[in-house]
């Protein structure tokens, strides 16, 4: 309304425009909208109107776009569902002319957490390898921007729990930590002060194989070679399926077998007659060399 009068004043030298703007400003005074000043997401609210007669009420905002016939002078009720999403709303009231007001709906209290943790699998003993981000949300999944305290906690079986408290700024709190020494599931949780708790699991897996040792013996089928239990340098058995490459050199040429570890041990049969030298490798880890004498 004040913008209309100021515009009219600026255009006072043009009588027609001036007159029109004055009329508009006056007309606007007849149907004011009184929008809520402290609306909260999910809470019902009302918009006040003045004047008399019929009018059309519009509300446009996040997730809502409604049109309703109303009586001037009465309050327009807005349900909790219509105001679930936090954000900027525009209320418009039209009878002979239209007037509008904007208002904000703020998020409710934080009652939920969106919790994203990376990675889902991590080798043991890696520095700053695990990170998590928690976002504070209200009941209707609006981002709660007011500062709140988030407690992160993580633990593995047989080890004491570690924790870290972070202040959520602009709805986000985060943490970072290193992976432990033992393979196994790492339980990580993020909690708000009101007992809202969300859990995630990171699988801590064995690191690269270490100290690969092999043994072998001649059988009717060929040379059966197998590893001792394959472990990483911290003693964690490598996961089943990890490939160990056996290489054999004899008078017939060179042979390779990519054999997967099964229950900690990888096995393969090498078709070799005569003396043979066998070695093994997995990733960058090399094993011992095995010499097996010849037999036809």
């Amino acid at each position: 309304m004040s913008s209309l009068t100021s515009t009219a004043w600026k255009n006072r030298k043009s009588p027609l425009i001036f007159a029109l703007l004055v009329v508009c400003a006056a007309a606007a005074q007849d149907t004011p909208l009184r929008v809520p000043s402290n609306a909260v997401a999910g809470a019902p609210a009302t918009v006040g109107t003045s004047g008399s007669g019929a009018a059309t009420f519009y509300l446009v905002g996040p997730a809502v776009s409604l049109k309703r016939d109303v009586d001037l002078g009465k309050e327009v009720a807005l349900s909790s569902k219509e105001l679930q999403s936090a954000g900027r709303y525009t209320a418009v009231l039209c009878s002979s002319s239209c007037s509008s007001e904007n208002f904000f709906v703020s998020p409710g209290k934080p009652v939920d957490l969106a919790f994203v943790v990376h990675p889902s699998r991590v080798p043991v003993g890696e520095n700053a390898a695990i990170s998590g981000v928690a976002l504070t949300l209200d009941e209707y999944r609006n981002l709660v921007l007011a500062p709140s305290s988030v407690q992160f906690q993580w633990s593995t079986k047989g080890a004491p729990a570690m924790s870290h408290s972070a202040q959520a700024r602009d709805g986000i709190a985060w943490f970072r930590t290193s992976s432990g020494k033992s393979a196994g599931p790492l339980q990580i949780s993020a909690a708000l002060s009101n007992d809202v708790n969300t859990r995630r699991v990171v699988q801590e897996v064995a690191s690269i194989p270490c100290n690969l040792r092999i043994q072998g013996q001649r059988t009717p089928k060929g040379v059966l070679v197998e590893t001792e239990p394959v472990r990483d340098c911290s003693g964690n058995p490598v996961p089943d399926g990890t490939v160990v490459t056996f290489t054999a050199k004899d008078s017939g040429g060179t042979s390779f077998v990519d054999a997967p570890v099964k229950q900690d041990v990888a096995r393969a049969i090498i078709l070799a007659k005569g003396s043979v030298v066998i070695s093994a490798a997995s990733g960058v880890a090399m094993g011992n060399e095995l010499r097996i004498g010849g037999k036809e």
Partner: protein, 183 residues
Amino acid sequence: MCARVASYPQKLKLHLSVLIVLSWCMIATPWRHAFAADASPRVTLTVSQATPRQVEPLTQNAVLRDYKFAWANLAQALESNSAGAINGLFVGDASAQLVAQVNGQKKNGLSSRYENQTHKLEAVFYSPEGDILELHDTAEYDFEILDGGKSIHSEHAIVHYVVLMTPGADRWVVRQLQAVPRF
């Protein structure tokens, strides 16, 4: 005969004028939209305040491109009342809210316009893994609400948005778009 000779240039001028006016009418309406589309959102991004991770130059380019694209499509969706334009650029709650708004508009015969958009983005949080980016958007645009083609509200708005973007398969997508009174 003289009268016929004298009227010929006048007729020509009349024909030319009609032709020009008709051509303009034919192309004006789609061109209006074309102008609106060509006047695509202007987006700028500053990343100096991003923490704990620095926003990489490639990521900055991608975010600028995809955010601009998202808002252009948001405007198109709300003007044409077609939710298809939103797909792939908005996910999660942001997508659900926009779809609900489009459906509400369609049901009530409303539409809205966002024109002459300018967005000043500031990155305030970039996660250690680079999978969550929070931005503050100071957006300026001409906002208009129409009821069956009749304008019922128009304003030049400056709105503050808190934006959450996450990387999708081949682009950054908007997961949360929440207007706030101030940052």
